[in-house]
Assembly symmetry: C2
């Protein structure tokens, strides 16, 4: 059973294909009687125009590509949800390209990224959004950067929470610095002075920004930072747990911990509880990202929201602007927000004993 084309419709309605195309796109006046007849025939056959043929001619597909590192990481569905809404409202459909999760074929994220990039180009997407947050500065070789730059010459690209140094690709970023400052300042305002930082990876720009901002805020408040209380090494619950255990092994444990993200914070809480500590009475813990889990955890996590949905939404808006050839700001910064919940509290002098 062959799908019906506008030729079939045209023949049955005794008109030319041009006329059918006209009623389809409402691109020129068609006599009401003719139009009605054509529409009826279309309905009768449940005619659906072939978007490939149309796109081939019009050089626009209404399709976007969205690259992200791991849909299984709860941060990304949030971003995606904002992005989805904005994209849909403008009539786009998008390919989801997961570059790292379920990595059973031993291909690394960057290789997969370039594979997807070229597939997307071949499929003639109207634009590409790369959601970062994992950009590893060491690994971003000149080659990789060059590739993305090359792609961005062919089709608009915007990066969310990522940045390719030396390029001028449009991006929308959370203000990580401000976010980290909020977190640390919150702890300090609560009376804490002995504040640790755990989680993340040295090579990653987001970790660095968070950590640097931590150091700066401490210093600005006249607090000396203790190198031993900065412990990097991962973004997940288990890693958070062992990082916290290290901290607990120190001769003098901190009264508060700033975690590189919420997962690490959860791990930290688990370790602390196992050690018999009560949160937040004995120890305050603050996370980062405001993943949905954060609010359902016990205790509910104090954290800083990166406004993930807004990030996604804005990314899509910027991309749309680019596609429409509007002049867009090169970088859009989204202000995070401190979310105070239950895992932080005022320092107690006794808690150090």
């Amino acid at each position: 059973m062959k799908p019906v084309t506008i030729y079939d419709i045209a023949k049955e309605a005794n008109v030319s294909v041009a006329t059918v195309s006209r009623v389809l796109n409402n691109t020129a006046p068609v006599r009401k009687s003719t139009r009605d007849r054509i529409v009826e025939i279309m309905n009768k056959h449940q005619f659906q125009p072939n978007a490939l043929a149309r796109s081939l001619l019009k050089k626009e597909t209404g399709m976007l590509g969205v690259l992200l590192p791991d849909i299984t990481n709860p941060f990304f569905p949030e971003v995606l949800s904002g992005l989805d809404q904005a994209a849909r409202s403008k009539g786009y459909t998008y390919f989801l390209c997961d570059t790292f999760s379920s990595n059973e074929d031993h291909i690394d994220q960057y290789t997969r990224e370039s594979q997807y990039l070229s597939i997307l180009i071949e499929k003639q997407v109207d634009g590409i959004i790369m959601i970062g947050g994992r950009i590893n500065l060491n690994r971003v070789s000149a080659e990789m950067v060059g590739e993305v730059v090359e792609v961005s010459k062919r089709v608009p690209v915007v990066m969310i929470n990522g940045h390719l140094p030396g390029t001028s690709i449009h991006r929308v970023n959370a203000d990580e610095r401000a976010g980290a400052e909020m977190a640390v300042q919150h702890l300090i305002d609560l009376g804490h002075r002995d504040i640790a930082f755990i989680g993340g990876y040295k090579q990653m720009s987001n970790t660095n920004m968070r950590m640097q901002s931590y150091v700066r805020t401490m210093t600005a408040n006249g607090i000396r930072v203790d190198e031993r209380k900065i412990r990097l090494g991962g973004f997940n619950v288990d890693q958070g747990k062992s990082l916290m255990e290290e901290l607990l092994g120190l001769p003098e444990r901190p009264t508060a911990v700033f975690c590189a993200n919420d997962m690490v914070a959860i791990g930290a809480i688990k370790a602390a509880r196992k050690a018999g500590l009560h949160i937040p009475d004995d120890l305050s813990i603050i996370g980062f990202d405001d993943v949905p889990t954060a609010s359902s955890f016990i205790p509910e996590l104090t954290t800083v929201s990166l406004k993930s949905r807004l990030l996604g939404q804005t990314g899509a808006d910027v991309l749309h602007g680019l596609i429409m050839k509007s002049k867009m700001k090169k970088v859009t910064v989204i202000q995070p927000e401190l979310i105070v919940r239950e895992s932080t509290g005022p320092v107690k002098v006794a808690s150090r004993l």
Copy 2:
């Protein structure tokens, strides 16, 4: 700057487009010297063939459509991740169509579903996967069913964890009945007799299956079920919380609670703790789905895994089979697995006091 086409390549290489096409698809022998020359020119121009044109002719696009209700619900990214892997390994790219989340334009899930369905048809996807779990029996009108059936005549469709009664659409389902039985039996084996069921919605098939299986297992073990201890009303944390509060208000509270999903279980634990109960000593709680959060929660959640990744993977495999016109089983059932963690424990007689 116009994109280069095979014509440009052909001209520069002094061959016909047919030959260029041949080296592109390796579809007929080409003299090595000619091939090398063409390849070099392609590289020089970073030539990427236009997939639209190719697909228009070949009637296959390598694109799939994936419909799901809410990417923000942690169950779906898991399914998607399995699906992604299987689809990618077979060379497919897919459109992600979120039919319900971020629903700010007041269009309901079913309307959006049909919108997406027709977009996907127009884009000529090779197949469609609908991930359910939210199919509301009341709302699945004849119209909706008819629509999906109509679509499935044009392109292969597979439903994951969903079912349109009266149709013969291929599907892969978790064995909800068996899963619920595992959960309840686990509780009974632990010595519990007074077991409640909370969460879900009466109109949904998954809720019904879980609930019926709960009743059956109780009865099979010679336990009478107490109607007051079955409380439906939602799938999220807050709803779980208030459902649990209702339960706690009962003259004789249960010693164990079987929750319709993990989110409800988390809510239940929150309510129980607030009431001063210790989990699992005073109350055992078991969830359903084995969402990633379940293992990071405190206490770690005992639950039954629906094998979400496997579900997705299998769905993609079945769809691929259908696309390849292989004979596929109409329904594939995935066996769930009981995951015993910390939120359930043996009954203590004293816990009833």
